[in-house]
Amino acid sequence: MAMTAHSVGTAVPKPSYGLAALVGVGVLALYVLTLAPTTAMWDASEYITAAYTLGIAHPPGNPLFVLLGRVASLVPAGSVALRINALAAVCSAASAALWYLVAERVLAAWSSPRWTRMLASVIAAVLGATAFTVWNQSVVNEKVYTVSLAFFAVVSWLTVRWCDEPDGRPADRLLVLIAYLIGLGYTNHPAGLLVGPAVAVAILVRKPATLLRWKLVLAGVVALGVGLTPFALEPIRAAWHPVMNEGEPTGCTQHIGVACTFSKTTAVRLMANINRDQYGKPDLSLRQAPFDAQMGMWWLYFKWQWLRDARGTQPGMQTVFGLVFLVLGILGGVTHWRLERASFWFFGPLVITVTFALVYYMNFKYGASQSPELRDVAREVRDRDYFYLWSFSTWSVWAALGLATLWRTMATRMTGTAPRWLATSPVLLIGVIPLAGNWRDASRAGETATREWAHDLLNSVEPYGILVTMGDNDTFPLWYAQEVEGVRKDVTVAVTSLLNTDWYPRGLQHRAVAAYAAAKGPAAYRDLPALRPARPLFSLTDAELDAIPEYIDVRDPQVFQAGTLRAIVDPRQLDVGVPTRGDLMVLRLIKDNLGVRPIYLARTSGGYVQALGLAPYAVMQGLAFRINATPVVSSMDVLPSTGGVHVDVKRTRALWNGFGAPAAMIRRGDWVDRPSVGIPFVYITTALMLADAVMAQGDTAKAGRLRRTAIEVAEAARLLDLLLPEAAARQPTTPASDVPRSRVIPLKPR
């Protein structure tokens, strides 16, 4: 039973659209079972907020995703976050259905019972859907990559169909549609273009004369252009100055207008957003890590796909499975080549593009979890497996083809007159290894700690307070809580990384402060005076704000005076060794608001309080440090603590009683994302500090309960070892920004 060498020209069987739809529904059911009920760490909160408010997310702004997310948020079922998480699930489920069709088409040349081809294609869909990163990204809308994956799969299927019949008007329409979808996919994420080279190769190999038909080429270019027009959303919405207006891609300062929208300022800012200028990615010739190390990062994440093993208990098994699926994928590629040469010329280049070419283009530093024995290498702040989601998804299709080939070989070589398909079918169970092996780590079911963390941090701030935060994980969840759930909108959140830009301080300056809803706030604030501030955040004009320099070249300690507050700022303790625009903005903010509005620094800011010389004026209240105008004096309720700051025991204890995150973390029982483990650590230290304080006050029962909670959170977050005294040096650090938020941050001075 030899395989057909080249299927081009043979009759094309009718695709099983019904079964493909069923497969999609089945995958969707799996995702719904493991769906996150609310927001999560990193960019999930940012994207949910951007979609809900029809705002501008971080560059390139992802306008198509914002539109889709906004429509998803209007579905009257579940919470807003759940609806947008479900969008990710629907996109990935649709991709799985399309991968089924692609696999079935490739296997069509098999002269075997149809059910065997269908079963093998189902395995392709299941494997692609349960690869760790695909699954994990499909059950919480952390990124826009699942929408991209759906575009990948649609374009793949259309290209496969075009390869079957590249002649005639229907084929021409498919090519025009492909061009349109590539353009449209680009407005979701630049990854939408990654499928382009593979389409070009397929055309060049299958029917190169197509490219000489100028009317068709022109139609394709026009369609591509139409597909790119959702970018128009950015300047239009930016001119309405929504709460999230990253990059502020408009020249309109007050209201939307024709002249300011069609201005040079708008054009420059929009292109800066689309080209992601803010991130200042280094030239590709300047490798951030050796290419073999970058491929090593891909291999590490490749191994995760089939058995994530987040606790590192089965490294040997993980490597074995990695090798198995690597070999199966290669075997599948060979099978694809032998069975269906026409679509191979699309799919092969696609796999290469989203693997080797993407690794080279992304030019990452060492991965956060890669080669931990290397101490002095630059690392990404978090694991970047999600950038290779398309690689793992397409590889799954080939791995399933390889598995089908293995099954066929076994079936035909068993003794007997006919292939023993049923007897050998258990080999297909290899294809469900990721389903079983990844369930625990990929599932986001019952994960509510991020939402609770946002509520707890906002509620640590007195009415109309200003809260300075440091990065993604202590900022985006707060945006979500405020804008989507309407929690503590009276608090002004100012994140230092974005204060380095020009547009963010302007946005803060023009934002009105919402009224404090005392009935919904913590009981601890019931008796506090809450006067709604009437004046802007800074006492500067827009021009004066814009004139604050990117940094000042000062390396020695400097005196900062704000009324009675006199602090010694030590630039050597700052991130880059000199005060940046963001640091200057924070100091300006303190100067303009001290004594007028309560000012806080999130406790996730690490040593920032000390670097700014504010420790004598800082008192810990819940999850934030409050900055006072005069040095803090110890008392019965305000005790000295580590780092020169004090702890307001009475207030922190009152707030702790209302915190929801500790119970959420204990209930969930795990904290898979290690780079953000500093968040549970803040709760652990809070509980232990409170336990010591109430013990000193003689309440041993309460102290015992607090210690038990600390231990349970530590167990859930896998941080028990950090409770040992000798582990102080290994304490988790501040959760950083996912990416550098501004090109204006200078390099460390020589």
Partner: protein
Amino acid sequence: MRVRHVVPVRIAQVLCASAAAALLFGYTDLVLGGTTVAPLLLVAGYVVLVPAVILTWR
């Protein structure tokens, strides 16, 4: 996905007009500050109607 039969001219014209109208009214509402109707029309236009127009283009 291939259109094997000839789509009546009338249907193709209606699809084309619908796509144009969805995008035009969607962007108009967006310019006026709309955040509900605009995304509904734009998503319908970009994700459903424009692809349908391309597949039925004569």
